[in-house]
Amino acid sequence: MKVKIENLVKRFSDNTAVDNFSCEIESGELIALLGPSGCGKSTMLNMLSGILMPTEGKIYFDDDDVTYLAPEKRGVGLVFQNYALYPHMTVLENICFPLEIQKVPKEERIARAKKMAELVHVETMLDRRPGQLSGGQQQRVAIARALVKTPRLLLLDEPLSNLDARLRIEMREEIRRIQQETGVTTIFVTHDQEEAMSISDHIVLMKKAVLQQYAAPQELYDEPMNSFVADFLGNPPINKTFGVMNRGKIVLDGGCEVAYPKAVDLDDGHRVILSMRAEAIVVEGPSEAMAEGVIEQTYVMGKEVLAFVKLGDFSVRAYIPAELQLTKGQTVKLSLKNKGVFVFDEETGERLK
């Protein structure tokens, strides 16, 4: 099912949680709602499920306007961060519950619940109670319960944040598998960029109530629309430096000149942010040097060395081949790749180059 959101606004008494949000989600996709804590992503999810009513704007499921429709009429399945399983019911009873409410005959109910339990791999623990299951198993049961009524849209609120690191990787792959097997349009909320990057078809990146960019993970990483998006994605974090344009060169605060060819036509005196991914910085490479810096610190990581290089007032991370044998205090020539280097306007944060 397609989801279309138009100019959605949610205001609480004194703050705006979601501001003028529009996007279109294609049928059958797995979408990550990504952003730092308090950016309005859970509010977004609650408006899609119908728990919260928006202040302004419209939500369409396919062509139906569901903006003010009661939650039970929307046909959504929702998995909460704490799973919200009923502790006094067995796994089977939990999965059956939504069908019981819909007055599905008992035999059909149990048959459908068992099929769903097989899909999420909890078919061997149908008689147990949630308290006797591990976090990952509870998560599976919660997903089965959300899916058993064959919803048009599956919503997952921070589905992995209550799990330990190893289970988290296992469960995110499971979510991907279950989503692909059922083909249900799925939206999940997360604040972990790696989680969002690894399994989703598209990412909705939000900051302070506002949609920043809606794109496929790789596009988000390669072509960030503003400096927030560039900062938010990537590990290690992107190197962020500030400077001013002077005769086609970027002069970083502290006096280091960077001759980045793509920035050559920017006006003199324009304050800019030069953001460089660590892997986009080439140290002592064959191509023409664009800047000079001093090695501050090196960390041997095996196949390569992570170096901190002083550029003006800024210390940037770069990878250097281990065989170069550079030491602290040495001056090196740097060049920048085309991919992974971005110039933003300092004032607005908008992408310039």
Binding site: S49, G50, I51, P71, E72, R74, V76, G77, L78, F80, Q81, N82, A84, Y86, P87, H88, F97, P98, I101, Q102, R145, K149
Partner: protein
């Protein structure tokens, strides 16, 4: 280490002596009541006291039951208790749900006012309840023993505390599945609250069974008396036949002792958890 062990043992001995002493104080009245119920008139008046009665026949019980309609009292007590406790439990569940999960204007204010009412002593309510009972024309009927006790702010407060502790995500989960408030309450919340509910029901049942002041005021005919009032009347009207009084007392407290033995764990847990007074 050795010294520590010795100290530890010594302190444990001290603790146990205290506990045994406390237990004797608690148990002695029951012991005296039950053995006294089997003694003869002579045995009970002897000094120094006779600890163990010479025979364990049920004559005293027979006489006591003949001297006053204790069977009638027992049935009245049972009807009043079951009637008020079951209705009270129902209203408590509904009120606790409304105050905990439903959003309506003035919810907090109303609940605070209700809580403030708990400070009014029961002895004061007796006057207004008496007038109500008279004007409703249910004075000296079993209804007068049931209706004033069909709701309880205190138990509502206890249960609301439990409902508050249940995550709202369960509620929203159920709502998204199309579950109504009513169904959510009975299918999800009430089964989850079972331990709290059992405690509430037991404490309520005990206090109903033992209530004395109100039945004395609200009933007058012998046929409408409850056990505690009946016992009191028996003592006053029956003269100083101590062994018969003790037999009647034994009959009165026996159901509660049995209830306590079966539900001991729930009562103790409930009292420990909520700091509830008995």
């Amino acid at each position: 280490m050795e010294k520590f062990k010795a100290n530890f043992k010594l302190s444990m001995v001290f603790v146990y002596i205290l506990l045994i002493f406390g237990a004797i104080i608690m148990i002695f009245p029951f012991f005296w009541m039950i053995t006294g119920a089997f003694k003869t008139t002579l045995e009970i008046n002897l000094f120094p006291p006779v600890w163990i009665p010479s025979s364990f026949n049920l004559d005293n019980f027979k006489y006591a039951l003949q001297a006053a309609p204790f069977a009638r009292y027992f049935i009245n007590s049972l009807i009043a208790m079951v009637g008020s406790v079951s209705v009270c439990t129902f209203t408590t569940i509904l009120a606790a749900f409304a105050f905990s999960k439903l959003k309506f204007p003035g919810r907090e204010v109303i609940f605070t006012l209700l809580l403030a009412l708990m400070m009014v002593p029961f002895e004061m309510l007796v006057i207004t309840n008496y007038q109500t009972v008279i004007s409703w024309k249910i004075y000296d009927t079993v209804w007068a023993l049931i209706i004033p006790f069909t709701s309880s702010i205190f138990y509502t407060y206890i249960l609301k505390g439990f409902f508050d502790s249940v995550s709202d995500s369960l509620y929203y989960s159920a709502r998204i599945d199309g579950c109504s408030n009513w169904k959510y309450l009975w299918r999800v919340l009430v089964p989850m609250a079972k331990p709290s509910l059992v405690t509430i029901i037991l404490l309520n049942a005990i206090s109903r069974w033992n209530s004395f002041l109100w039945p004395m005021i609200a009933t007058i005919n012998v046929s409408n008396r409850t056990l505690p009032f009946g016992l009191y009347a028996f003592v006053n009207e029956g003269g100083a036949k101590t062994e018969l009084m003790l037999a009647a007392s034994t009959i009165t407290v026996l159901p509660m002792i049995i209830l306590f033995l079966f539900a001991r764990k729930n009562i103790v847990n409930g009292v420990a958890r909520g700091g509830i007074k008995g």
